[in-house]
Structures are given as structure tokens and as C-alpha cells.
């Protein structure tokens, strides 16, 4: 029979991976159409603007890393390791929720970046800053989740 700590830890792994993928898909699905739309008029900005979709994809990778590290801990988990199980659960929750928030932020700021760059290409270096700051939100959660898991 599966012990309760393992269930909590498994849910944590699931949350980390699943919610991060959702966050990444939100970021990509909002920013990519804007990049494509701007690219129809100014093809030269597409490669630069793709940074938004790459950063959105990175969110899924953070979630996956937290998930994998949690799985490594999960294999050695016993029924008495309740605290570790809760830490894995908490790390998954933190990573997952932050990934969704960062995904929305990257999507909207990436979309705005593409639109702004299409209109005024010289704005790229400044318009990219909010995008990086949005990515930083996911990195904060990633670091916290790692500290909880390791």
C-alpha cells in the first residue's frame, strides 16, 4: 500500500511539471501570435522577438527540473518522511503557481515587445527589460523550490 507521504510528494511532482507546462503554454500562446503578426510586416524582428517564446519555454524546464529532483528524492522516501514529502509538495506548488504567473507576464510583455518593436525597432533593448523581469519571477520560485527539495 502507498504511504501518505509518497502521495503528497507525487502530487508535488505533478503540480510542478503540470502547472509549469501550463504557464509555459500561456506564455507561448500569447506571445507567438504577436511575433508572427509583427513578423508579417517586419520579418527582421522575428528572430529577436523569439526571446519571449524561449523564455516562456524555459519556465517548463524549471518545472521539469524541480519535478525530476523531487522524483529522485521520492524513490528513497519512507512512511516516516512526512516533512520531506511536504517539502516536495510545497516546492511543486510554489514552482507551479509561479510558473503560471510568470507565463502570463511573459506572454503579455512578449506580445507587447513584438508589437512595439514592429512599430519602433529601436525600442527593443528597453522593451525587453519587462520580459526579463517577468522571467525572474519564475527564477525566484525555481530557487525556492530547489532549496526545499535538495
Amino acid at each position: 500500500m502507498v504511504s501518505e507521504p509518497i502521495i503528497y510528494a507525487s502530487v508535488g511532482v505533478g503540480l510542478s511539471v503540470f502547472l509549469s507546462v501550463i504557464g509555459a503554454s500561456i506564455g507561448i500562446s500569447i506571445s507567438a501570435p504577436a511575433i508572427a503578426g509583427a513578423g508579417t510586416e517586419r520579418p527582421e524582428i522575428v528572430s529577436k522577438s523569439l526571446i519571449a517564446t524561449i523564455l516562456a519555454e524555459a519556465i517548463a524546464i524549471y518545472g521539469l527540473v524541480v519535478g525530476l529532483l523531487s522524483i529522485f528524492r521520492l524513490t528513497s522516501l519512507t512512511a516516516a518522511d512526512t516533512d520531506i514529502a511536504f517539502r516536495i509538495f510545497a516546492s511543486g506548488l510554489i514552482m507551479g503557481i509561479a510558473a503560471i504567473a510568470a507565463g502570463v507576464a511573459i506572454g503579455t510583455s512578449g506580445s507587447a515587445l513584438a508589437s512595439a518593436t514592429a512599430e519602433k525597432p529601436e525600442l527593443f533593448s528597453r522593451a525587453v527589460v519587462p520580459l526579463i523581469l517577468a522571467e525572474a519571477l519564475a527564477i525566484y520560485a525555481f530557487v525556492a523550490a530547489l532549496l526545499l527539495v535538495i
Binding site: I30, A34, G37, T108, A114, S115, E119, K120
Partner: protein
Amino acid sequence: MLRDTIVHLLRDNFTEAKVRGKKRFLLERQQLQSLTEFKSQAEVIGFLADSPYGPELSKLPDSVSPAEAERTIGESLARTVENIEASAKGKVRQFIIEYRRRYDARDLARLLVFKLQGRPWEDYATTRSSLGTLSEKQLRKLYNIENPRDLIEEMADQTLEGRLENMQLESPSPDKAALIRDIIVGWGDERFYAYASNELTGRDRTICIPIIGSAIDLGNISIILRGKLMGLADIRSHLVPVYWKLDAKTLESLLTAEDIQQTLDRIGAHRYYRRILSGSRQKYDETKSLAFMEVLAREHFAKLSHEIFLGIPYNIGVILAFLVLKDNEARNLSAVISGIDAGLLPEQIRPLLAT
């Protein structure tokens, strides 16, 4: 409001980013001003070779008439709008179709005036807007109707019939032709306003209504001014019964003004329109024409459109703002080409430009 923003983010992002890309190619104020310095139409067309008008203008022969050049610019505008419409979905697509229907009203106004003036179909066909949704076949069919009242009945609805009911239509003078045009264009704007009021919601509506509403108000002011100029007794029946910033009290004071100068003075004191129509009394006294009204209105719409581009990007206002700016640019270019062809000096052409 949140729902609208999410819909724009997920569905209209492509179109809105595309529009911003296209906005980059709009001519700057300085470029337009410098175009007035050119000595010939060929130089203007040469300057526009690298612009979005280039592909169409390059096909024209060297000895092209200003009317043909203007028509080509109109076709380029239509191609741009069709391109945006093709990439749009849902509400944005419907919005663009409704916007294009405004051009139907302009086409119908011109058609009626040409018909009343007894001019041939061929003359009309060259001035027809490429942006309207009515086909050439439909317009030709309308043009073949002999009785003007039957023509109005066929082309429009009872609303417009009522607005033109008390007017003697036969052989209109230039002022009356302009009044008929204003009434029909106002009817088209009224349809667009009704669409925006009823179908748009949240921020979409809040951002679009100032442009659409002030178009109706300025159209009504123009009808009142022309009515005063012609000494019409019953101007009220020709007005669009929709008001945005023109309240009933102001409207009444405009209608009861003794002459056109007093009307201009009164509108010059209005809390909203004084900014837009400032100096209109002086302009009228100098030119004895109401042509400046159209330029002032376009300047106002362009200003509102620029403000929309500075605001929150995820709304339908961005599309409307671009369409307004693009239309304004096409009209400015037409004014430059016609002005140069007529031998006007740069300082005479510049007041015709709304920048």
C-alpha cells in the same frame, strides 16, 4: 473588461501586432510637409516608391492624371485594410466590415450627387472608393435608376429617406451637393455608431466611441453650417439624431443662430469642440468655404488615434486608430497630388493637410 482583454490577447494578438507593424510605414508629418515642396506629381510618386503605395503607384504610366493617382492611392489603402481584415477573426473582423460600410455611404452619397448633376457613370466609376463593400455591379444597378427618390429608397433605408424627404434634389448647387453628401455620410456614421454602441463592450467601446461619436457630432455641425449657408428653414430634420458631446442645449443654440458666423462663434464656445474648431470663424471669414471643417475633423481623429496607440494595447481601438490614420494619410496624399497638379504653392497646400 477582463474578458475582452483576454480575448484580444489570445485571439487578436496577431492582427494587432500586424497593425503596429503597418503603422511604422505611415508617413511622418515632416515627410508630408516636404511632399508639398515637390514640383510635379511624378516626383511625389517617385518619393512614394518605397512606401506601401509603391507597388501600385509603380504600375502607373508617367503621364498619369491626378484622379488616377488618387484612385491608385485609394486602392492601396483598400488592399491594406483587406489584408488586416483577412487576418482578423470574430469581433475584430466584423468591426472592420462595419468600418468599410462607412465607405459605402460615401460611395452612395457621391453616386447620388453625380446622378443629380447628370454626370455619366464613367465619371462616377473613377471616383468610387475601393474600400466599400458594394460591388461595381450593385452600384451600376443603382446608377441606372432614373428617379432620385427611387434611387434613395433602393440604396438606403427609411431613416435616410426621411432625412432627405424635405429637400429639393434636382440640379443641386455645389453647396447643396455638399449638404446631401454630409447627410448621407452622417447616415453611414450613424450605422457605425449604432454598431459600436450595441456590439462593442468594455474598453473596446470606451476607446472607439470618442472617434465614432465625434464624427457624428462634427457631421451634424457641418450640416447645420451648410444649412445656415444656404438659408434652409428646417435643418433639424436633416440631422443625425445621435449626439455624443453635442448636448441638446448646444444643438438648439446652433440651430437658432442667426447666421453662419454666429453658429461658428457658438460652437467655438462649446467645452469640447472649442479645442477642435478653434479659429474656424476666422478660417470661414478668410475662405468663405467650409472645406476647413473636413481638415479640422481629420486632425481631431488623427490626434485621438495617436492617443489610442499610446494607451493599453489590447483593444479594438488600435485597429480603428490605424484605419483612421491610414485613411487620413491617403486623403493627405490626394490633397498633395491635386494641389501640385493645380499649381498651388506649398504654403497653400499645407493647410489642406491634416497631420
